[in-house]
Amino acid sequence: MKNSLSFQEDGSNLPILIELCDMASIVFRVSSAPQFKSSLTPILQFVKKIVELYGRLAELDDSLDSLTQHNPKGHEFRRIIERLLTVSVDVVSNNQGKLWTRGQEQQHRGQNPVEGSQENVHGVNQKKSLDELAALLDIFTAGIKQCPILVVQLGGFTDDESFFQRAIAVAITTMSDKELGIARSSMTFLTSVVSMVSRVCTYCNSLFKSILLQFAFLNRSICDQAV
């Protein structure tokens, strides 16, 4: 599936992408069955590839020129990526390790999410769970790079906490794990979040300038009419 993806700037391969995403959803649904023992990592890597290729088309661009241009296919790309992100989080959060929700449970008990983070997930599924969690954080990293506003605005399972906030809480608990893959993915994700601040702020600055310019233009029009 991953090899069948290719980027088309004009979004002309949208129908194929929709088909592939439907297939991915089916694979996720089958994989989440209790008797399914294989790793979800390959299908999560497929989602990451989609976000890397099409995330930019799903996002509001950070330049004012493109902000004023209406992108008819943008909405469809946005819907696909939101759906894939949601189903990915859903499946990983329901896996046997429960690593995605672990810190959340501690927070609800009034504990610091970091406390007790090193407790092991027992059994043969520990490595599999950590690999899947790393793959999910890699998807978020790709999302932060390609479509940060979409990722931050995406909701969560509850109103209290978005998927983005949960991903940060999880990454904090797993960044010092002895397993190299999850430690790296957590730190890379957190680095992309920290680096995102300046990118979003640049966008906000240009937006404010635009608003000021429009107020100035409006003011001038009113003055001209008065004269």
Partner: protein
């Protein structure tokens, strides 16, 4: 730009503030975890990722905030290599925060610091030749 786009824009301003707020709340903990990990606790192969994250935190925070975070994270109880090496570490991190030193410098520094903590008794080598060599290397860089 229509009204919807204005509303979207205002939401984005809110997002910028939200992310800033989240990072402000976790920065101290992240710096503490990273420095603790670099003192021999992280897997060696994750040191570059750790350096990238700390560097990103250092260059984006206010110098006063960084000073407080570093002083909390690098207490004498935790840092076992002696006062001179501690001062040197704070200086190197400060240089990264102010933009005088780049990420590769921090990566190399982390790697050397991590190596020093691989002996059984890291506190026992404080002030010794190996630590002095480490101090000399970064005093002249």
């Amino acid at each position: 730009m229509n009204l919807d786009e204005h509303i979207q824009g205002l939401k984005n301003v809110d997002i910028g503030a939200k992310i800033d707020n989240i990072i402000g709340r976790i920065r101290n903990h992240l710096i503490n975890t990273l420095l603790n990990g670099v003192m021999g606790n992280f897997p060696r192969d994750s040191l570059d990722s750790a350096a990238s994250l700390l560097f990103a935190l250092l260059i984006r925070a206010h110098p006063k905030e960084i000073e407080v975070d570093l002083n909390q994270s690098l207490s004498k109880d935790q840092f076992l290599l002696g006062d001179d090496a501690l001062k040197l570490t704070i200086r190197v991190l400060g240089e990264c925060a102010s933009g005088k030193k780049a990420l590769p410098h921090l990566s190399t520094f982390f790697s050397d610091l991590w190596d020093l903590y691989q002996v059984d008794d890291a506190g026992g080598i404080a002030g010794g030749n190996v630590v002095k060599k480490f101090e000399r290397k970064y005093s002249t860089m």
